[in-house]
Symmetry: C2
């Protein structure tokens, strides 16, 4: 999916095709945010002025590059998780037996469809933590890019949230639902507070 | 630039190449956000259930598709505006005369480099307004996508802001600086309040 040109991706997003949708787009925006972190790393490493943080930056680069790969893979995973869900919605429901079968298949598909955006949210939280370090330790010349990256990861996290919520809404397994909701809440609470802190720090570096 | 694959775009963002950077990435994320609005429109138009808003949706589609094109063009414009800035930084400054000349060229380049992200910010505000209408009027089945779209446009607006600020920081024409800062502040004030309102509305539609 990401092997298509950006223009093609945007066009298929805008079309009435069911995928890619908001979930896959969230993974992509998270990936763009984390890539801006890697840019900060690549413009810091090898510079004499930043030799004290050279090792730390090298380690961050390994983490941010791997995270970009994970987020890129989640674009396709989100589309794949939608397929069984769309199939389940299309099942017949005329008889009681068909209704029961449809509900069973649907409930199973909802789990996967909720777990993928939850995994996207987890990656975005990790991205926010990495961008925090890039903003603090990376080259001052590109601190704004760390700030842009962190605000993209925050938005991708909030986008992933909505995609978890739509799938939780129809979930009947109350125990699992509560477990996933709690996990989502804790990721969001941590991620949003930290992202806002990093963005404000970067803004402070640019003003006056 | 957007004719490259998404993977290539992400890789060149992550690299130490000066462009694309946070400004171009903001235009792209805004474009992704607006495209999610078009998706809502394309999944609403022609549906019997939504025939009362058919004309409005058709009009919104014209607007959101044109806005995506404008944001896509701004990705390249941001890269083009960076070029004279990079050249200006590279000018010699050994003599007083050279210093004066460098500063003159730099000040001119800063104006363009600030105006492009300001144009991106304006487009994002327009995107937020369009997504507000898609969230209210579009198919309920894809209301989450309007919510994801609006939060992306908000993040792109905040990303563009940082790219205006870095260029304003070095600007010496206080009158112009104040004018651009005021314009930026007014776009942000309106955009962020509205984006948060739309996102909360969508979240409310998905909960319970």
């Amino acid at each position: 999916m990401l092997n298509n040109s950006c223009i093609e991706f945007i066009n298929s997003l805008a079309s009435k095709e069911p995928v890619p949708g908001g979930g896959g787009a969230s993974a992509l925006v998270g990936s763009i945010g984390v890539a801006l972190g890697s840019m900060v790393g690549n413009l810091t490493t090898g510079k004499k002025k930043y030799q004290d943080v050279e090792e730390e930056i090298q380690n961050l680069l390994i983490k941010s590059e791997a995270l970009t790969d994970r987020l890129n893979a989640l674009v396709a995973k989100d589309a794949a998780a939608f397929e069984p869900l769309a199939k389940a919605y299309g099942l017949p429901s005329s008889t009681e037996e068909e209704k029961l079968e449809k509900d069973k298949v649907l409930q199973q598909a909802l789990i996967q469809a909720a777990e993928v955006p939850l995994a996207i949210a987890e990656c975005c939280l990790e991205g926010i933590k990495i961008l925090d370090l890039y903003a603090q330790k990376g080259s001052r010349l590109v601190v704004s890019d760390a700030g842009v990256g962190v605000i993209f990861c925050k938005a991708a996290l909030q986008g992933a949230k909505l995609n978890v919520l739509i799938n939780l809404k129809l979930m009947k397994d109350e125990e699992l639902k509560e477990k996933l909701q709690k996990k989502l809440d804790s990721i969001l609470e941590e991620g949003i507070v930290l992202a806002d802190k990093v963005y404000q720090y970067v803004e402070g570096q640019l003003c006056c």
